[in-house]
Symmetry: C2
Subunit: 269 residues, 2 copies
């Protein structure tokens, strides 16, 4: 995804505008709700805006609740649950949502879901009805594309859509924002055509724009459903384009953390 850029980068101010929303629980139409949130917050979407929405809010809009007593744990869940001090039905829900499961910490399994690391595959039990868990949206990439189209049709605004979650970082306290779905945005900017004296520095050549936007929005988003599940990021129109379907994951064998940490475990075993 190389996009020829003709604007000066880094000269515009960027605004992060939180939209306060009332608590929701059952399924609802997100775009209809968005109209009322924009009105109650005195805001409107403009061409080139990035519309950022929390994955949990969208999962709620889809009614992606699971009652733990309806989940029958299978063989694998037993040993993982006892090893990690977790509820067996909860572990079963995590296993069903994961592409690949790794061991973790007390209460947490590290999983790979949709190509990325996610603790507990995004299965979450905070701030929802007791006895339930909430899953990630069914398909965040498709959902981002659908929201972008519906916003264009119903409000006439050419926006980008980023769906965000919060994610732990290696060796650091606290979560940062991460994008689990996006549409209409150059999600990873490739600066590799730019002059470099030596020509081999991968680490400074690509910027994870959708993830940086997600982190910027985590500064104003609450973590509960009483908070701020939606925000507008304005001033990044140069990254907004009519594009979809970019794969922002890297293969495990090309990941410096996967490669490095396998040598770490053998060095400290």
């Amino acid at each position: 995804m190389r996009v020829e850029r003709i604007w000066p980068v880094g000269l515009e101010k960027v605004q992060v505008i939180p939209l306060k929303a009332p608590p929701k629980s059952g399924p609802f139409s997100f775009v209809r709700e968005l109209s009322s949130l924009l009105e109650s917050n005195g805001e409107a979407l403009s061409d080139g805006d990035v519309l950022v929405v929390s994955s949990k809010y969208l999962a709620m809009s889809e009614g992606r609740y699971v009652r733990l007593k309806d989940v029958v744990p299978l063989g694998d869940a037993d040993s993982l649950a006892s090893e990690h001090g977790m509820n067996r039905a909860f572990v079963e829900a995590v296993l069903r949502e994961s592409d690949f499961v790794l061991k973790g910490l007390q209460g947490f399994l590290l999983t790979i879901k949709d190509g990325f690391f996610a603790p507990n595959a995004g299965v979450d039990k905070s701030n929802i009805p007791k006895g339930c868990v909430i899953l990630h949206p069914s398909d965040s990439m498709a959902m981002a594309a659908r929201i972008r189209r519906e916003v264009l049709l119903s409000m006439g605004a050419k926006v980008a859509v980023v769906i965000t979650d919060s994610r732990l970082q290696p060796l650091r306290k606290g979560t940062v924002g991460v994008s689990v779905g996006f549409s209409g945005i150059e999600a990873v900017v490739d600066d590799r055509g730019r002059a470099d004296l030596f020509g081999n520095l991968l680490k400074v050549t690509r910027r994870a724009i959708a993830d940086n936007i997600s982190s910027a929005v985590q500064l104003v988003m609450g973590e509960s459903d009483e908070g701020v599940p939606v925000a507008i990021v304005r001033g990044l129109a140069h990254f907004v384009a009519d594009i979809d379907g970019y794969d922002s994951s890297v293969e495990p064998e090309e990941c410096i953390f996967v490669r490095g940490l396998s040598s770490y475990s053998s060095a400290t075993a």
Copy 2:
């Protein structure tokens, strides 16, 4: 670091204001340069602003260049250099800057520096004079505290200071911003006193504010010294306080990535 908060969270707009700067190379006084950047960009610092500065710009201000031909590689550097296709003197510089070195990818060693993972210990060879590398600032935490004090004394503004670098993420393309030093800011917000139906969800309870700010600023910062090495983030005064010295690292044995990836390597070996 629990700070009693009395403001409504998530209701303020946040602004990210880039400061364009001319290219620099030799040592210089950062705070003196800042005054001229503020003037040339038509901006001023206010109480509650977060002043964000790139670590490379500050390393330049300290003259932290090393000529590779002056670095004598020792034993370890040889085998690591040939295994990773790297220059031996460069590897030696990485080893000297690291607390702990792990294997990596072609051209990259994963290291632990100041408690965090950093590819090549932050030793960088892009956009600086040929034949040289540039190191991280000598002590980013102390430097952030010093800049905060000098800004207060010379400009009378009570700001927070965050020093940023760019960092790869596990299994994802592109870099995000990360804070390598900070002063005057609640770097990690602890929401663990908040109501949760189950009470055990670590992942949603702490937010890495300084890292999220660093990522927000990566949206406007260039990656070269011709770009935007400084930015002001406005609207986060509720996180700004007269605090210093918070340790935002977690121990490897408490890190879900370290724990999970050791099981990944044995599962796929």
